[in-house]
Assembly symmetry: D2
Homo-oligomer: 333 residues x 4
């Protein structure tokens, strides 16, 4: 059960509601986000909602069966729209493309990518500065130095930045320069990181775990929301299966299911989803057709020379061709 | 290596080629299909192709590295088109929709379905008469009796029939009434069945195994081809993964990969692919966008009353709405 | 619900029971095996068992909740013992080792293997004569010719034969020479084959499917039992997972679970279970420790030269060392 | 390639070796652990080892092909023994049992568990104080307060403590009270945590990821080692598969493979491995038979009342019975 409070509720009224819940022996969690105040109740048994519903300061009471609460579609029927400013929105019915290199490598690389994005009316650039790598001997990203370069060029061009954060300790220093924090597939169940991201007021894009169940992704989103941040975007990026003809198995079933279960926007990363450059465009088109709210695509001037993920990265020409097909497709859907 | 022979080659010339191969100690398999004569060679070591290429009766010699031979894209650059007659074709660039109930249940059911198909310009009806069922206590299909009813109504309406065959012993009696033999996911590696289907001259639609690898599907197709039947259609229908929010995980990565590796048409079964009725249309749209040559969709007048698979079956209205969206999408792609 | 009938029941009494079931609108399946007569009932709703229990010819009535009936532990509390004669038994508390080459290759190979088995008091020899192969270009076994050789040498030495059957059409000719019919992992859900094996009076060893669920294996066993053959042995042989460091992932969890759910003996194939020769002995020991009723082990005089599966086959010395460790282990357990 | 340095090497000599490597254009990583100094080299091409091997301060040069270096069996042929003091050792050929509740709940619970452990000559107690939970609404552990209680009772009884650490920020405060830091399956690829654990001088038990590949586990161990901590124990705890008859699929194949590839001790957690209380003992026996260096077993006085994981936790009587069977088994193996 979710008790939604008046946004202007004062401490006294809040206290009286808490007291009422305690007197009914109902377990509850107070949640305060950028947008609202809530009590999430996980009662052990049925109780009469009328004992609470009339109290001052309560805007609405929602019964939410099932294990997920705040992220559930059951209490919030309208789809959530994440507004990043400057016309960048997720979940409003239009598809938002995010593109850029796997790793930020150099100032020149950023400049050229920004130019391509602008020419194609794309307003969000991706690029990793902290890279989680299976092997400790692989390139680990340019770190804050790379982020500052990234920011310099994007900021002046009105391009938003999405980049991965790997641990709580990085959040504070990254905060001024990042528009959307990405949580990678290896960190989907890094609960300390999720809670730390719940305490900031920037959108969080949460990737599904490498073998993450739909339910687990929703629980992870619940962690962020419960900690105070409603600005959440879910991302399907391929799962691990027995099939070894491709890097991951893009699971587009996840898109309609996540939209059925949750009110949050759902985007797809076709680059990781198949991991093979020449097939990325088709998977991107399929992602658009299935109803994704956005796409996360790896692009590089010369994928052959990219320090990471070149095998699944489009070059500029391939990317521009794809974008025009995506726009055409979107017009029909 | 594939040695493609003149279609009019006589026994003498064939014998001379065989002798030449033997003298070079090359393992070979003679293959004769509806369309061509071939020798498939699996030499243990490199050899000089010139020792053979000049012989009379040889049309072409193709080097095919990799384990798959006849089904490989490497020797047959053009995509194969399977022509079922009356304008029903797979692989010609247009998408062919096959639709109908999971199981044939009654004459009335067939009639009503045929009517819907005709109204929507769909020329292939699916419907099971032999049903592979996990439990021996489940409905197993109407058998030949059902097939005769199925044939009666489709034949007079110019609708082609696709239906599943479960064992070699069924082929002969089914042959006059079936236009496309479907091999189900549990029989993808039933090699005796595959070889038996290699000996007939009707198209075979081969479903990917429940946890079938791409390579295994291609090998299974190779079994049919090698036994003499080139008329093959591959079908992605969802794989088994850890995810239990849906019946199967539709693996659309398989479509571009199969088309890269093989010259055969590739269709998708979105009904089994997600197994949830309300999400089947979106998965069908995604399948079209990814480049499928056809779709296999479960449709029933009243899915709630279907004896099998009702939970993933569209009703007539849902189906017609989907078809019009598919046609619109196809116009853009 | 399972109605167990008197073994000497006559047609009249049977008819009266059938009539009683019909009058109660209970769906039922008559089953007659080597050992007993049964009616398996799958009633759609609760009913009063007393309306039937008193009828003449009924030995016992067992309520069996759950989907599996005849193979379930719920009605048959004692473990089933499969007696193959000459002291070869499965499920009596002792572990029965079956060993031999993947494929029967030659008379000499059989003779040498028989000798090793005899020296180690092993009474069942495995060896494939019909080989299901992923690729149509691989060795497919010596067929009936191989089986006759196999039989000649085993029969005179008092060694039992277990070998794989691939399709119904092979059963009749194989029947005189085979002691245990093995159904391979690719045929676990070949329901026509299962039903055909239900009609003979020889034990059937049923391998778990390549990605077969526990429930599916039990349903497949149910197919054989329901068709008339109670002599069933279940076999864990490794499943398909994401891990590619070994051929399959041996799932020893399956042993206690299958024994909990079913009354049938459960054996393990550690050779396929890990697929790496040097690690087979440890997996065999683990299989013994977990409570397997038997083991299926690949052995060859010179594994390096075996036509199939050499990479997972023990040589004679390795095998003999393993057997003595297994016997020592069994004494403690 | 691993260059092992003299333990007493001084800065000058080290500098000369670095200079030599640089002059040969070899990428290298200096590593300093509790036990040794190393340069790990990842040269891009072959080079003449003699240009380096003669330099002062070099103890040995090991060629290590393959991607894993420090954890590889290729350079360190002897198995590593992790000595926790007071006779608690991993990897010396004897099996070390670690047991205790999933979560530390109360002082009384700790006392009773300690008593049972002592009676059975078990010297390591497990117990979680920081619990990673899928849902944010689940019990999250008693935290430092619980750890202090845990320490108080174990310390005075000579029992070692193994407990899970969830993020870098927790390490410092936990350090005085923990004997072995456990990294859970959700954190196997939390690289920041791994690097932080590389900087302390306490053993780290690293669980395989929920769908972690063998190679990934070894890479994660490499992270810890490279950061300075050689005291590593690997743990198989079941993987995620399609099978849903048990919580996880215990993958005992992993034990011989990890011991083949790495010199580190390998333990097994049969409680998570099957997740079903009554079958834990058999999986523990199988783990012992396959060669595990230790076991991690969940035990609670009244599993039915345990706040977490009760369904897979043994009660004291079941545990003691298992321990005596394990000791008997170990004597034979």
């Amino acid at each position: 059960m979710i008790i939604q409070l008046d946004t202007s509720i004062d401490g006294d009224k809040k206290g009286r509601i808490e007291a009422a819940l305690q007197s009914l022996h109902i377990d509850f969690y107070p949640v305060q986000t950028q947008i609202g105040h809530y009590f999430i109740c996980t009662p052990k048994q049925e109780f009469d909602i009328r004992g609470i519903g009339h109290l001052d300061g309560i805007k609405d009471v929602h019964r939410v069966s099932g294990a997920h609460k705040m992220v559930s579609h059951k209490w919030k029927v309208d789809r959530t729209i994440i507004d990043c400013g400057d016309g960048v929105r997720f979940g409003d019915g239009e598809m938002t493309i995010m593109a850029g290199p796997c790793s930020i490598e150099s100032e020149e690389q950023i400049e050229k990518t920004v130019e391509v994005l602008k020419r194609n009316h794309i307003k969000v650039m991706r690029g990793g500065v902290y890279k989680p790598r299976t092997s400790p001997y692989s390139f680990r990203g340019l770190g804050m130095e790379g982020l500052l370069l990234f920011y310099k060029h994007c900021h002046r061009s009105g391009i938003k930045i999405i980049t991965e954060v790997m641990e709580s300790a990085q959040i504070e220093k990254m905060l001024p320069y990042v528009d959307i924090f990405q949580v990678g597939a290896r960190n989907t169940q890094n609960f300390n990181l999720l809670e730390a991201l719940g305490k900031i007021d920037k959108p969080v894009l949460l990737k599904r775990g490498i073998s993450g169940k739909i339910d687990e992704l929703l629980y992870s989103a619940e962690y962020v929301f419960k900690s105070g941040n409603e600005k959440l975007i879910l991302c399907e990026r391929g799962i691990r299966t027995f099939e070894n003809s491709y890097r991951n198995t893009l699971d587009l079933n996840a898109v309609p299911i996540l939209k059925e279960k949750s009110h949050l926007p759902v985007v797809v990363d076709p680059s990781h989803g198949i991991g093979i450059r020449k097939h990325v465009p088709q998977m991107a088109l399929a992602s658009a057709a299935v109803g994704a709210d956005g796409l996360l695509i790896e692009v590089h001037e010369t994928p052959e020379k990219a320090v990471t993920d070149g095998q699944q990265t489009l070059n500029f020409m391939e990317f521009e061709r794809l974008v025009s097909r995506l726009y055409a497709l979107e017009n029909v859907l």
